[in-house]
Amino acid sequence: MSETGIGAAVRRKEDFRFLTGQGTYTDDINRPGQLHAVILRSPHAHAAIRGIDTAAAAAAAGVVAVFTAKDMAADGVGGLPCGWQIHSKDGSPMIEPPHPALATDRVRHVGDPVAVVIAETKAQAREAAELIAVDYQPLPAVASAAEAQKPGAPQLFDAAPGNLCFDWHLGDKAQADAAFARAAHVAKLDIVNNRLIPNAMEPRAAIGEYDKATGEYTLYTTSQNPHVIRLLMGAFVLHIPEHKLRVVAPDVGGGFGSKIYHYAEEAIVTWAAGKVRRPVKWTADRSESFMSDAHGRDHATHAELALDKDGKFLGLKVSTIANMGGYLSTFAPAIPTYLYATLLAGTYTTPVIYCEVKAVFTNTVPVDAYRGAGRPEATYILERLVDTAAREMRIDPAELRRRNFIPKDAYPYQTPVALQYDSGDYFTTLDKALAAADYAGFARRRDEAARRGKLRGIGLATYIEACGIAPSAVAGSLGARAGLYEAAEIRVHPTGSVTVFTGSHSHGQGHETTFAQLVADRLGIPIENVEVSHGDTDKIPFGMGTYGSRSLAVGGSAIVKALDKVVAKGRKIAAHLLEAAEADIQFKDGKYVVEGTDRAKSFGEVALTAYVPHNYPIEELEPGLDESAFYDPKNFTFPSGAHVAEVEIDRDTGIVELVNFTACDDFGRIINPLIVEGQVHGGLVQGIGQALLENCVYDPEGQLLTGSYMDYCMPRASDVPSFAVSTNTTLCTHNPLGVKGCGEAGAIGAPAAVMNAVLDALSPLGIRHLDMPASPERVWRAIQQHSLAQAAE
C-alpha cells in the first residue's frame, strides 16, 4: 500500500479551504444586483386562507415584489413532485395530493410557505413580510399519526379519507400466522420511533439567477443532488428545459438526507429571479429550518417475534403507522416501505416475516429520509425485540443472536423480505465488538457501579444495512420515478494530471480525497495531480447525488468504470508508441510496459500523445483521453455491524450517562480508514442523540414545541464519550471495489444498543420498556412509578 493509495489514512485535500474560512457555502455567494427573499410562513398547523392582502408590504421601503400562490399559478408553475409511488395492499396507488410551492387555499403545517417578499435587503424583506395580512380561518389540526387515523379526526385532504396515504404490506400473513401458532414463546413490543429534525449545521439557502441575454436560469442551492433538483424543478415545477437551467450545489454544510429533496424555496427564488430580472437570495433562519426541513422517523409500531423453545426465531410480525406530515416530500413514500420492511430480517435467519404499514397525513412538517432512513427504524424494532425475548427466555442476548445469525457459508442469502445479501460475517463482527467492549467483564463493572449507587447496563445491537439502492430496473418496479445509477467523467489533461467529475456530492464525506486516492492508485499518479469536481450541472455529465451511503459503492464504481476506459484507450496509444501488440502491454504503477521487457511509456507520455497526436494511430483512434461512464449496480450493498453500549443511570435524577460505546462494522473494502472512522463517529452521535436527547415535539394542535436549539436537544460534546471503533471486512461481491458504504451505520446501530443498555440497567426495577429519548424526566418517572409499585407490593 502506498502512502496515498487505497487503504491509506490520507489527510483530506478539501480541509485547507474549510480550516481557513475559504469554503464557499451558498450563503457565502453574492451575485451582482442580488435581492433578498423572505418567506412568510403559516403560524397555524391547519387553516383555510380566505385572502391575502399584500398591498402594505408591496409599498414598504426597499420592496421590489411580493408574490403569492396566485402569481405562481398565473405563470403555470406546478406543484412539488413526489419521486416514489407506493401501491396499497389492494393495488391502488397512494394518495398523492398537490404540494404547491406557496400555499393556495389552505395551510397544512406550521411553517407552510404562504408568500414571498423580495427586497433590496433582508431586513427590509423581513419587515415587509410582517405587513402582509393573511386572513386565516383556523381549522382543527392533528399532529399524531395514530390520532389522525381515528374516526372524526381532522381531515387534511378530501382525496385522502381518514388521512390515509397508503396501506401497504410485504410478506405472507398466513405463513406468519402459521409460524406464530408453532411458537414456544412470543415477544411483543409497542414501540415508537421518535420524530427527529436533521439539523445539518448549515441552514438551507438558495439563490436564483436569470440571464436576460441567454434566457438561462441558475440556481445555487444547498443540495445533496443538484441534477435531481434540476430534473424535478425544471421538468415538473417551473417547466424550464435542462439546457436552460444550471443547478450548482457548492460547499454544503452537512445534509444527512435533509438536503436531498426539492424544496419550495428553490423553485420560488428561481422563478422570482425570472420575474424581477435580478438574482434573488434566500437563506433560512434556524427557526425556519426547524419548521421547513424534512423531518425524520416518526413511526408507531406493534411488533411480535415468535421463537421456538431453543430461542430460534420462527417468525416476525410488524404493524407500523408512519407519519408522512402535511405533504409528501420527494422520497417520503419509499422510507417506511422498501427501505424499512425489507430490512426486518436483519442479520438473522427468521424464515417468515410479515410487515404492514399505514402511511398517514398529519399537520406536521413532511417526513422523509434522515440518516439511515427506514433502516434505523427496522433495526430498532428488531434489536429491541431480540433483547426482550432474551430477557423473557433467560438467554444471554449475545448468545440468542448467535443462535439466529445467518451462517457464514449461506451467502448469497435470500431473505423472506426481498433482499439477497451478498456477503457478511456476523459472528466474527459480534465477537470482535464484545471483546473490545469487555462484555465478559461487565458483571464486575455493574457491581462496582452499584456500590456507587448507580444502575449500570450493557446493551447490544447488530444491524444490516442496504446501501446504494439498485438496480434501477428493480427500484423502478417498486415505484421509484428515477434511475439509481451514478455517472463519472475522467478528464486526463495533456500533461497527465486528471480532473474527476462525479455525480456524487460531498457535503462532509471527503469525496475529494477518497475519490482522488482511488484515481491516483489506479493510474499510478501522485494524488496531488488529481482534482475532484462535483456539484455543478454545467460541469458534471449527470448525477444522482449522495444519499443512502451510495457514493463510493455507486459513484466510486462509476469512476472505476471510466478509469478502465481511460486505461484501455491508453493501452492502444502505448501499443502504437512502443510498436507492440496491445495484448502484450500491461498497465502497472503508472506505466504501460511491454510484457517481459523494460520498454515502457509512462501514463503522462501517453496522455501527452493523446493530445499532441503527431505519432498516433489517427485512423483507428480519436485524439484525447477523456472518458465517462454510468454505473448501475447489480444489487444493494449490505454493510453490517455490532454495537455495544454501556450506560450508568442515576436513580435520583434519571440522568443516563453513556460511559462506553464500542462498534465493529463491516463496510467492505476501505479506501480511507480515517474518513470511515469519522463517518462512524458522526453517525453514532446522531443515533445516541435519538436514543437519549433528541425529540421533535408537536402539541396536540400541531404547534411545533421544539423549534430551536433551546428546545430541541442536540448532542453536545459533553453528552458523549470517545468511541472504540473497528472493522471486520468481507468484500461486496458485485461492485468492482468490493466496497459497501459507511455513512449511516452509526445512526442505525446506536439507538437500539443504547436503549437496550438503558433497559438492562433498569431491569432490576422491573422496567421492561421505555420509548426514546430516554431523557432524565422519562427515566426518573419510570423509576418512581416502579419503585412505588414495588413498595405497594
Partner: protein
C-alpha cells in the same frame, strides 16, 4: 439611523456605516466579505460564528457591530498568514472536520480554551465546547484535534 463603526479586523483598520441593529457577524460577512464566520442558528447556541474580540472568544451573532467599536477582532481568516495555525493544523491531522461549517467556530473556541488552560483534559475540552455544536464528527476527532492543537501551541510558545 445609520452609525459609523471602526475596528481592527485581522490586523487591518476597517470602518463602515451600519444600522444600529447590525450584528457583528453581519458586519464581518456582509460588509467585509469575511464569510469564514458562519451563522448556524438564531438563538446563540451553535457557535459557528465564534470570533475573538480583544483576544476573547465571542459569538459574533450575539454582539452588535457598534459594540465592537475600537476593538481588535480576529476571525478564522486572520489566524495564520497563508499557512495554518497549530490548531488548524491539528484539525487537519486528526480529521476534526467534515462539512466544515462549524469548523471556524470550533477552532476559534478551541484557541481561546488553550489560552485559559494550556493542557486541557478530554473532559475539560468537552465541557468547554458546550457552546459549539457539530453535527458531523460526533466530536470524537474534534476532541482529539484540540488535545493535539493544545500540545502544539504549548510547543510553539516554549
Amino acid at each position: 439611523m445609520p452609525s459609523s463603526v471602526r475596528m481592527t479586523v485581522n490586523g487591518k483598520a476597517v470602518s463602515g456605516t451600519v444600522e444600529p441593529r447590525t450584528l457583528l457577524v453581519q458586519f464581518l460577512r456582509e460588509h467585509l466579505g469575511l464569510t469564514g464566520t458562519h451563522v448556524g442558528c438564531d438563538t446563540s447556541q451553535c457557535g459557528a460564528c465564534v470570533v475573538h474580540v480583544d483576544g476573547v472568544s465571542v459569538k459574533s451573532c450575539t454582539m452588535l457591530a457598534v459594540q465592537a467599536e475600537g476593538a481588535k477582532v480576529t476571525t478564522i481568516e486572520g489566524l495564520a498568514n497563508g499557512g495554518l495555525h497549530p490548531m488548524q493544523a491539528a484539525f487537519h491531522e486528526h480529521h476534526g472536520l467534515q462539512c466544515g461549517f462549524c469548523t471556524p467556530g470550533m477552532i476559534m473556541s478551541a484557541i481561546d480554551l488553550v489560552k485559559h488552560n494550556s493542557d486541557p483534559s478530554e473532559q475539560e475540552i468537552r465541557e468547554w465546547l458546550e457552546g459549539n455544536i457539530c453535527r458531523c464528527t460526533g466530536y470524537h476527532n474534534i476532541v482529539k484535534s484540540i488535545k493535539a492543537g493544545a500540545a502544539a501551541m504549548r510547543g510553539a510558545t516554549k
